[in-house]
Symmetry: C2
């Protein structure tokens, strides 16, 4: 079974988290994970980039600690590490999501 490395809560760095969330493609992923229910395989995000670029962005988010990635068959299921991030940097994620919604309101 394939597994992927994730930083522990304590290993999360503010530099890295902010840099991860500064990119619009990655912020879109994080926001969608925050809003949505159900399945979140990488392919379901319809990002405006190629498949290999998408892989890069998902890896960047995972290595920053923003998302968790777990294999499920050939797919990778992505979830937001909201609890861990809230514990490490309280209020940060919510402020970013709120800011995103102000700038680009959803529907």
């Amino acid at each position: 079974m394939r597994t992927l490395d994730h930083p522990s809560k304590d290993e999360m760095r503010l530099d890295t988290v902010l840099a991860a969330l500064a990119d619009p493609v990655r912020r879109t992923v994080a926001c969608k994970l925050n809003d949505a229910f159900g399945d979140h395989a990488c392919a379901t995000f319809e990002l405006p980039v190629s498949k290999s670029t998408a892989t890069y962005h998902f890896r960047t988010l995972r290595e920053a600690g923003v998302i968790r990635q777990e294999y499920e068959g050939t797919k990778i299921m992505n979830t937001l590490r909201k609890d861990d991030l809230d514990a490490r940097f309280p209020g940060l994620l919510d402020a970013v999501f709120a800011a995103q919604d102000i700038e680009k309101p959803t529907s």
Copy 2:
């Protein structure tokens, strides 16, 4: 009299603000402005970079809308645009400062 360009509140972009705050040197500047009283000329920050690099970071912060820069004689006085940022992206700045303090507690 020399003046410098600043984005209006509405021109502030989340991408740019987050990218500005993702850099440790720039985040240090913003945090110090948030904490301190009195004079804040560029030279008072004792950053671990050369003078020309410091100029670059201050300009990046100004163009993102994070700080305001105004000439006063040969000096430039820097202030945090807290009110504007709070109005545009409520809670964001405070969350970042709180996170910074968790990661690198002041004194």
